[in-house]
Symmetry: C2
Subunit: 341 residues, 2 copies
DNA sequence: AACAAATGAGCAATCGTTTTCCTGAAAGGA
DNA sequence: TCCTTTCAGGAAAACGATTGCTCATTTGTT
């Protein structure tokens, strides 16, 4: 209930377009046109409206506008489980790119729960979001969202299993290439690959690319096989200990993530093996708290996750402007050379 | 432009309340009342409406509702710089508590830029958010938001400098008490405190509480003073090396965060000093990748950051329901005992 | 049986913009 | 001078729900 003492008194609360119009001596419609730049009008009229906007501190009501135009200038950001180390940069990259487009982000954390996901999706549809970005912490493909048909959706980091959907991922093949070529270029040939659990796509893919790429140079992994394990420092240490026994002539370690790499570096140092003198190490993720704290600081592959988020947002904006381009796009990785190689 | 072939045909696109009403054979107003439970009506009438809702898959338009009622069921979550290790759990805790209240979260990352902050605030006001939660990555008090007067605001993690604002923080004093009492209870008396830079409130406050609490037991820090430095492992290592020279009889380290603690643990191990045999270590943050990967796993103080977020959200909900309770509330910490003590 | 009270349901105003007509008036051309 | 364009600006209909008010019916009371 807006309180006004009489018809022409200054309005209580926030100024409405009607107040602006009255002050400028024009109709509401004209005021609207003056602001949107749609209708034609005398420059001085427009200026009067603009001045009135200034004096009253008028800001248009977002919901009224959305109600009429159907565009909410909002996108839903659905994170599959928690907001972790991987989804955070994606999320920030997306928020950044969307902010440029004056679009706001509704955050939905599903905690990996399908019920909660459906719940959030209905909410997003009720709020008439212009689009949805889905991101998870793993690179394993995920099943597409259900029941959001008319709303453009982009999958970031974890691609959709449906190739007709839009997905943006980090290019693991490219990352492997950067790492292996760097090691070969610095004269290493007996390269071991230590990585995470085989049931993670990230581990499997990187391992496969590694083996293929080594084979292309007539090489094979130092121990003849890839070492799957966990994404932990402890696994890195254990793997190195085994490695020093089985293949003591190994001259480089390519690790599936920075934690494994750091564990490996620690184990080597404690065994008196010089890094990078006798063994080079390359990690993956460029996770600063690991890579920089490592002794020596880690050479590592940066998945450019913020860029993945940015690109996902840009594709979403394209799709919203109805230029749908389905398919998976991969963002190149970056090799960050530090002292471990 | 909604396309209908004739007045009574099923509507294209999403169902509106008008469609529900027509199907149920009642007026729009009655249908609305049937759903909100506000008006009185014959049970069978209500049921007809409910059935129609079901058949049409009707979901109310959020913006239309907000436009009329003024409540958007949305809160803005403003993070001061990035979304880091500290703001993430706060954010998740808040999102969780707000989700219970069927409220959505608009994410605003200011990147520490005042211009961007103002920009986001105006946006939030345009969207008529019901409330705002402000969070940062430091515990240093921050200046209150400007120009959001009528909107309830809660500061999480970094309190507002204005005591009349609502703030929720982690209780550093309590954390220090837990840590020191644990060390004393396990027989340690020559306790050193190694922490971050003195220009961080987190470092200063924890140091002050530590000195006070030791004094209360007739003790003083092992070296007679607190060691300020950085929040890094490297500083932890350096500090320990200095400590072993100046005060070799030190029997416990209380570190300002887990990174320092981990660095300290590494340095001690490498000097052949047994942990926890000869020296106990307690860290702060319970940051799993540090605390669990540490050798030995770290005893540490958990700031319960998710709970800080939850409590901030709950206070905000209270304030929205117009029960304003200004002031700073502190969330207790938790001592997580592992093998380093 | 007659009148008052309670109840069920509809009408229409409202929220604040956008946008589509539509109307005068001014300007231009013959 | 008269007729056709162009132009400025207004009136009003959306957009989709909520809610106060009104008006018939029932129901209840002597």
């Amino acid at each position: 209930m807006r309180v006004t003492t009489d018809a022409d008194s200054p309005p209580a609360g926030r100024a409405r377009l009607a107040d602006v119009a009255r002050l400028a001596g024009v109709s509401v419609g004209t005021a609207s046109k003056a602001l949107s730049g749609n209708g034609r009008m005398r420059p001085e009229t427009r200026q009067r409206v603009l001045d009135a906007v200034e004096t009253l501190g008028f800001r248009p009501n977002h919901h009224a506008r959305t109600l009429h135009t159907g565009r909410s200038w909002t996108v839903g950001l659905v994170t599959t489980d928690g907001i972790g180390r991987f989804s955070t940069p994606v999320l920030l990259g997306a928020e950044d790119a969307l902010g440029e487009g004056r679009i706001s982000v509704l955050l939905c954390d599903t905690r990996g729960d399908a019920i909660r996901e459906q719940h959030h999706l209905r909410n997003l549809m009720d709020r008439r979001v212009d689009g949805i970005i889905v991101t998870g912490r793993r690179t394993d493909p995920r099943s597409p969202l259900r029941g959001v048909e008319p709303i453009p959706t982009v999958y970031a980091l974890s691609p959709s299993t449906d190739p007709e959907d839009m997905s943006v991922v980090s290019d693991d093949g490219n990352g492997v290439t950067l790492a292996i070529e760097h090691l070969l270029a610095t004269g290493r040939t007996r390269i071991a690959h230590i990585t995470g659990p085989a049931h993670h796509a990230a581990a499997r893919d990187r391992a496969r690319f590694t083996v293929e790429l080594l084979a292309a140079s007539g090489l094979e992994p130092a121990t003849g096989r890839v070492h799957f394990g966990e994404w932990s420092e402890a696994w890195g240490r254990r793997a190195v200990e085994a490695l020093l026994r089985t293949a003591p002539d190994t001259d480089a370690l390519f690790c599936g993530n920075d934690q494994i790499a750091r564990g490996a570096a620690d184990a080597l140092r404690e065994k008196g093996v010089n890094v990078p003198g006798r063994v080079s190490i390359v990690g993956w993720d460029n996770w600063d708290t690991m890579a920089l704290a490592c002794r020596p600081p880690l050479t590592t592959i940066d998945g450019n996750l913020a860029e993945v988020g940015r690109r996902a947002a840009l594709r979403l904006l394209d799709a919203i402007a109805s230029r749908p381009e389905p398919g998976v796009r991969a963002v190149s990785c970056r090799l960050v050379v530090r002292e471990s190689s």
